[in-house]
């Protein structure tokens, strides 16, 4: 890729930042900068939108009472079952039990503390989360 062909598409996911892309000038390498590439941004935004859609669906499930607050929080914090299990040191079947409203209502303070640490929330904020689009 020639330096002149480095995409400068002003991608919003970069939040005004630029990143280094290597390219050639007269056949020799230089470190160039890119403000974004549409094809790459599309892939990122698609992944973010998938997480956001999951989060919204999980909120609806929590509101409808079919899933516990934990299920919603997992998606809101961009986890999936595997990564949340690893981040809290539990098995996936334990997580899945905690997705059940009746089970989650009775989990021990110790288990709740594990979730509190993984999400950086207080136990109360975990029991009754607020509806926010993302964690940030």
């Amino acid at each position: 890729m020639d330096e002149k062909d480095i995409p400068q598409h002003g991608s919003k996911i970069f939040a005004g930042q630029k990143k280094v892309v290597y390219a050639t000038r007269n056949g020799h390498y230089v470190a160039g900068q890119s403000s974004g590439w549409d094809d790459e941004s599309f892939a990122t935004e698609q992944a973010v939108q998938a997480f956001d859609a999951q989060t919204e669906a999980a909120w609806q499930a929590y509101q409808a009472g079919t899933h516990s607050a934990l299920y919603y929080l997992m998606w809101r914090y961009r986890h999936d079952e595997a990564s949340l299990a690893a981040a809290t040191g539990q098995f996936r079947w334990q997580l899945r039990r905690h997705f059940r409203v009746a089970v989650f209502a009775k989990i021990s303070a110790k288990t709740l503390a594990k979730y509190a640490e993984a999400f950086q929330l207080t136990p109360d904020e975990i029991r009754q989360p607020r509806h926010e689009h993302t964690a940030f």
Partner: protein, 337 residues
Amino acid sequence: MNTPHFNHRQTAHCESGVMSALLRHHGLDFNEAMVFGLASALSFAYIPLVKMAGMPLIAYRTLPKSIIRRTSRALGLRLQMQKFARPEAGMAALDRALDEGALVGLQTSVYWLPYFPAEMRFHFNAHNLLVYGRDGDDYLISDPVFENVQRCSRQDLQRARFAKGALAAKGLMYCVDAAHMPSESGLDMRGIIRQALLKNARQMLPPVWFAGVRGMGTLAAKIEALPRSTDEAYGKLYLGHIVRMQEEIGTGGAGFRYIYAYFLEQAAERLNAPKLQSCSAEMTAIGDEWRTFASLAVRQCRKPKSSGYAEVAAKLREIATQEEALWREIKRVAADL
């Protein structure tokens, strides 16, 4: 109060960037591409059993920490690496090292670093950055993938260092042992570069189905099967995932192929080996093909058509054939160095 000036330099990738900055700080001026090449860090791996956010592991470089480890071994420098069971101990050790004036490398989570743009914050625990000082409760950070230096509060940095989960950093910090720093004149660069090239060629031509050029063939077959095996939504996310692994995570473009081509060019100049310059030009051409592959994959996400997956797979097979020929050539050239 300790707010020194640091000569921050932005790089494409975090680990090669951190390593290059550590070397430069201690008097050895190897840029990111040189470090990447000396660590034989170019790779391809497709491991469907290992899942990240429901997607298979697809990697264009070697495992996290391998750049740090292999560069140290190749150049004969000593790294002091420490992990910690308790976050408080990890932060105290960081403070001590900074008070002694050390430049400290850290492994962290991306998700818990507040200065990252929201869209980039995913649960990836093997990010690398440098801490060069402290200002009260703020740490002064040279994060190589950012244009400028950053600040991070003690609480946030501790959270990022000790996030649990896959590839957990466990507070990993590393410093170069200045007393055992090699000088450039004492290094046998011809031997080091030859070894690095041969190692990378072996890595790209392994006798297994999930790595190197064969791994690309396996992934191509998987892409071709996508319309039969899954729904359209998953197929789109799958192709998007490949593109993200190739471009988004600081690869310098084309899944590190441009970085590696830059290394080949520098190796050619250092060793006065014009054949390596030709290899560099060929690697650049292959990098351009990877960019085309990414565009084809995204086009299929944007406007799916029935023949689209097969076209994406065919492009990947074409690249695998080109890479195989190039790596055989690199192997021959390196053996004669």
